[in-house]
Amino acid sequence: MALFEVKNLSLHYLTRFGSKVHAVSDVSFELEEGEILGIAGESGCGKTTLVSGLMGLCIPPLYPSQGDVFVEGDPLMNRTPQDIRENILSRKVSMIPQGAFNALNPTRRIKDLAMDVIVSHEGKKAKKKEMYERIFKRFELLGMDTARVLNSYPVQLTAGERQRSVIGISTLLNPKMVIADEPTSALDVTTQKQVIGMIFDLLEKKVFSTMIFITHELPLLRHVADRICVMYAGEIVEMGTSEQLVFDPRHPYTKALMSAMLSAEEGARGKKPEAIEGAPPFLGNEIIGCRFAPRCKYAKEDCKTKKMEIRIVGDRQVRCDYAE
């Protein structure tokens, strides 16, 4: 049994006037223990919405339309928020948000926030001092001036320290799986490297075992992920191993995405990044054909009218009837 399984998950936002915006449509994948899945895609393709769905945290105006998420075989949808809060969040699934500054309560010290997490899940069994020692031990792994950071307010920390603190707090209760939602997008390259190194350090130290790493940078994913899935307009357009997707993309969108990247990879040098013409479709309207068709270089006559389904091409999944 897979640790984490997503079956045909669709999510929509309900607008004020009652219309729906289908932000995530028909997403399915499985994740074995110890695996790292990368999710890539441009802004607005539904990555962050998908994260909410994966955690079972559908806060209005976000609603699930169909499908389900299974954590160790247990379905997430149709459970009460209370149930999800107590049993899933922080314990099994945890998230590292993007923009760590906004994620930290400005009027709470790091240690207080961390203690809130422990108290919320384990009750007030432990004394404050014990809790502090426990938090201290965990934060020691993050390679910071632990005592100072723990006793600081978020404003007093650097961006890197905040990001590390967030990672520390998110993984405090040893979740099975961590969803990292663009954890490094706000950081400079050096700090990025340190933070990613730290995340993998935690992986190695078995703080958590499985991870979904979300980013808009495909080349970064090659170093991080075992498998990559690329999303476009709420759908998975291609999924395969990272080598396959980075060096041999099949779906036109993945190809376009790769050629739009400035890459320092071997063999990719000297290539000029190309922009993808046009803009993603508005998801409030029902789209029948391929969602990428209007921007696709290889689009055929029937692309806009025929419903595209996931196909298995070789050992990867592609949502394009003409990809080989």
């Binding site: 922080s90 309560n105 997490v117």
Partner: protein, 530 residues
Amino acid sequence: MLKNYPTLLFILQRSVWYFLTFLVAITINFFLPRFGADPIDLIMSKQKGLNDQQARDKEVSYMKEFGLVDLEKTIVTDNGAMLMTKDGAPITFKQLNDKKLLTVNEQKSFWTATIEITDAAALKSSILPILATKTLDGFEMSDTSVWDGDLFGETVKNALTLEELKSLKGITVSMNNKVYSVKANDLNSAFGGPVSTIEGKSPYVVSKNGDLKLFVNGEGHTPVPEAVTVGSAIASASVDVVIADQVLNTIEKRNDIERFEPIRTPLVKQYFKYLWMVLHGDLGTSFVKYPKKVNEIVAQAIPWTLALQFPTIVIGWIVGNLLGALAAYKRGLFDKVLFPCALLMNSIPFFAVGMILVYLFSETFRFFPSSGGYAIDVIPGFTWAFISSAAYFYVLPFFSIFPVFASGQATGMRTMGIYELGTGYVKYAKTLGIKENKILLYIFRNAMLPQLTGLALMLGVMIGGALITEMIFSYPGLGMALLSAAQNNDYPLIQGAALIVSVTVLIANFTVDILIGFFDPRVKAGRTGA
């Protein structure tokens, strides 16, 4: 040294700024009444049934109270003559007192004192060389003026003009300070008759048609009838002696003859005097309730104002913020009803609510009294009758301010709450599985901070509005005092009440300013530079 205590340093810095603001408030308070119409004129125009002397006395006392003039003690005789030295400087009791000629027993008010003559003979001989003159207050002479008219109650007729005087042989006329001095070198030739003088002092009588006019050497002129006659002119006594006698007689006759002469104080001196007074907690003396001190009037009014405003602000703030937070969190019907109601309520001024309440509950239904702080038949004090009566009268004023203020806070808190609900830290806390009520606490606390600052900003408006509410309900607080002061041109009271209001607002702001640093680490971080 202070660098090690950033909080203390911050409080000190703030205090300095607030003190400067306070000085500005005092300065504005000082200058405002001095820019427009003269407050003394305004208050004097409202005085009725006073004779000239009383009016003048009153005016001088007002000017003194308002700090416009300094009063110099002088000795003034019954008929208004003032003892002066030859240089024209007033002779004061102190001088006489120093010579142990008389003692000032007690100062009854700034106006009069009881004196006692210790050595009449010595006093007499001491005064002898001193010339007494009438003050020439308000009596200016020009070169052409005929010195006819009513001069300090004595009628002068057929006086010589200056030109006529100058044309007399043996007379020299000189002018000093608008006062003419006349010296006669040869009176006999001037008047065609014998004139005698004593000890080189020269009293002269100058007249046409046999009426008396007397000029004293030195400064001024004093008509002293009976003292001399034309032709025989001062045979036996010097006018000095006459006047000295007159002064002594007066002193013996009446004990309270010390007078103060008003001398205009320079503006700068006035300012520093006012500053000194205010910094020592002295707000001056009321014009209308003279001689009641402004401090006293304000001290009577302030408990009422505080009793009305403090609970209103505190309860209104708490209730308003709780309602606003609840509306932000629950949304739905509760919010849909509360929010427009609060918006509507908040846009009505306090006094309008007050008037509506008076109309409904006082005029129409007669549930509550419409004016006053307590029933007429109870005496203020710690009695059950008084407290219950005060509580009964408290209801309408309270409910005219409370809903407006609370709804203002509620709208602010709702907006802030909704904003905080959508922030990243709330979402993150949710993904961490932190308990709902804990997240609510985060939101409430963080949304409260701008509310706290807003409260400080609103306090001035609040207090001003509440003062108007007091006026509507004739509540015996500061607002009422201010109203009656404004109606009666009681400038010292207006100044005092306005200053108290600004000081209250400053203190409240200061408190919030300091408190916010303890509640909000972002502000604290800014302070410590961390």
